[in-house]
């Protein structure tokens, strides 16, 4: 199918291969990513999210199963995995600890140059990426270390965007940011999807953030995918999610409480904006 960008097919992966009884970090994981989707990936710590996202650009090779990018098996002997890492851009958790260049520009240019782009084009790509993540032009010659936490995250994202990815995978990009930093970064990621059609995979521990931004949510538990559905359907399973160490968005809990208190509200509501509309509607 035209819009299927990436297919994960029965992935199995175990870190400690010396013990056959060791727990699998990924246990028969399959899903399809479509072009232009915004997928939220949630799960308790240790559920396998980071392991899974490192498979998406072939940083990790599965013990069995495979990944197909636009129809081609990325683990085939002759597959160009270096080019793949430009197309499936991965922003690691706490990427600010991996910034190492002297200026923002040289940091962002590193990726495209490494991919074989000539210096001039790489520079153009870098300028473009810096603009797309909403960093000020003045930042370009500054040391990444002098920037704020939220700005450093943007530099890390820009250095992946400069390679012009079709899929952008972000591993907990908002962890540790202040509320404004969190919502600005989330807005920026939503814009990449909406304006540029980039497919997004967002790993997050914030149920409220994925409820707000994602078109679809994949829930992992102990290396397996438990749910893969639109957000409202996933968050219907409040009890099961709590069992797994997760939760529902705050608005789900509120709407359920209101229903119990006798308000004729729709409980399929997970965002603040929809909750406001619904409450005003039933009270008018």
């Amino acid at each position: 199918m035209e819009d299927m960008k990436l297919i994960a097919d029965h992935l199995v992966f175990q870190y400690d291969k010396s013990r056959s009884d060791a727990r699998r970090a990924l246990d028969d994981v399959s899903f399809v990513l479509h072009k232009g989707e915004f997928v939220g990936l949630i799960g308790h710590t240790g559920s396998g999210k980071s392991t899974l996202v490192q498979h998406l650009n072939a940083l990790i090779r599965p013990d069995s199963g495979s990944i197909y990018y636009e129809g081609a098996d990325i683990y085939e002997k002759d597959y160009d995995r270096k080019a793949l890492r430009g197309k499936v851009g991965l922003v690691f958790q706490y990427p600010e600890y991996q910034l190492f260049e002297e200026t923002v520009l040289s940091e962002v240019i590193y990726g495209p140059v490494n991919m074989g782009m000539d210096k001039k084009d790489a520079e153009l790509a870098a300028y473009d990426a810096i603009r797309r993540v909403g960093l000020e032009e003045e930042c370009i010659d500054q040391s990444p270390f002098d920037l704020s936490g939220g700005q450093k995250r943007r530099v890390a994202i820009a250095s992946v965007l400069a390679m012009d990815p079709e899929i952008l995978v972000l591993d907990e990009p908002t962890a540790g940011l202040d509320p404004a930093g969190r919502s600005e970064l989330l807005e920026m990621i939503k814009e990449l999807k909406e304006k540029e059609g980039i497919t997004i995979v967002l790993v997050s521990h914030s149920m409220d953030d994925v409820a707000e931004a994602a078109d679809r949510i994949i829930v992992m538990d102990k290396g397996r995918i438990i749910y893969d559905d639109v957000p409202v359907r996933v968050f219907e399973h409040i009890n099961e999610l709590e069992e797994m160490g997760l939760a529902a968005p705050q608005m789900s809990y509120l709407l359920r409480d209101l229903k119990k208190a006798g308000f004729p509200v729709n409980t399929d509501i997970i965002t603040l904006k929809d909750a406001r509309e619904e409450i005003l509607k039933v009270l008018s």
């Binding site: 710590t45 240790g46 509320p179 521990h205 409220d208 705050q250 809990y253 509120l254 009270l283």
Partner: protein, 303 residues
């Protein structure tokens, strides 16, 4: 010692009831180049003063870089004031002789669950602190048991820390601090890297230490929902304490908080927006229960 303090720090006498007293604290980070020339100065904490009473639960909010961690590190003498003073339980943190007492009085837990546990086994890690303090062996075992039980981690005493979830690791780190019998615990974004259950476990543990054990808690966080049970909230902005009050007072000031790169709990924000649409709701609603109650009352009045 008392006498010396009396001469030098009249402020403690004036504030006899305060457990922690911070007066005009200022701290700068100075960046130097290879030749040791000053390249830049960041005023991380700028003329901060406040008092904390024994047994209080204080939450500290503030944008990234507002100076929260720098301030926190002054409380247990990891950093020392350049200007101003920090008096913890009657001890001036600049008094070198008191360093161990100060560190014992206020313990600190940081953000990353993966780099605070040094023991190979949970109970070993919790025993380190008391061992270093020279607590007798028999008492160490007792303290380890007490602390792990308080944090609900006793059943994991023989586990290897890398087998634990993030929330469990943070509770072990807290247990390790508690085993030193501190009067105060400072939690610097302890939940930033945790999943929802981990966050819940850590916050519940902090509240229990405060309510049951009477330990003074200072909690730094970016999650507004975590501070609604605090006795008092301090809001930092660019190195200064800009607001101080109960959670309800603070979270009634939605627009000011947003200007300082903060927000309010989602329930508070919803109530605030509903109020703007004309519903007669109180300012600073903090919990679902309150919001449901006020909406129900309104519905009945309306008929």
């Amino acid at each position: 010692m008392k006498k010396k303090n009396k001469d030098k720090q009249p402020s403690i006498l004036k504030k006899a009831s305060s457990f922690l007293s911070i007066r005009n604290l200022k701290y700068e980070y100075i960046r130097r180049d290879e030749e040791n020339n000053v390249e830049g100065i960041t005023t991380a904490v700028d003329d901060v003063s406040f008092d904390v009473k024994a047994g209080e639960f204080i939450a500290v909010l503030g944008h990234n870089g507002s100076g929260k961690s720098t301030l926190a590190k002054h409380i247990n003498a990891i950093l020392f004031p350049e200007e101003g003073e920090v008096i913890l339980d009657g001890m001036d943190t600049k008094d070198e002789e008191k360093l161990l007492d100060i560190r014992r009085t206020a313990g600190m837990v940081f953000q990353n669950p993966d780099n605070q546990i040094i023991g190979q086994v949970v109970d070993e890690d919790v025993a380190f602190g008391p061992e270093n303090m020279g607590v007798p062996t028999a008492e160490i075992a007792q303290r380890v048991e007490e602390s792990l039980k308080t944090l609900g981690m006793w059943e994991f005493r023989n586990a290897s820390p890398n087998r634990l979830s993030g929330g469990q690791k943070q509770r072990v780190s807290i247990a390790s601090v508690i085993a030193m019998h501190p009067k105060c615990i400072i939690l610097d974004e302890p939940t930033a890297m945790l999943d929802p259950r981990g966050r819940y476990e850590v916050i519940r543990a902090a509240r229990a230490l405060n309510e049951v054990e009477g330990i003074t808690v200072i909690l730094i966080t970016h999650y507004m929902e975590e501070v609604i049970h605090a006795h008092r909230v301090l809001v930092m902005d660019k190195g200064k304490v800009k607001m101080e009050g109960t959670p309800r007072e603070i979270f009634s000031r939605v627009e000011e908080l947003k200007r300082m790169r903060l927000t309010v709990p989602q329930i508070t924000e919803l109530a605030w927006e509903l109020k703007k649409e004309g519903l007669p709701l109180s300012d600073g609603i903090l919990t679902r229960e309150e919001l449901v109650r006020e909406l129900t009352e309104y519905k009945h009045r309306k008929g």
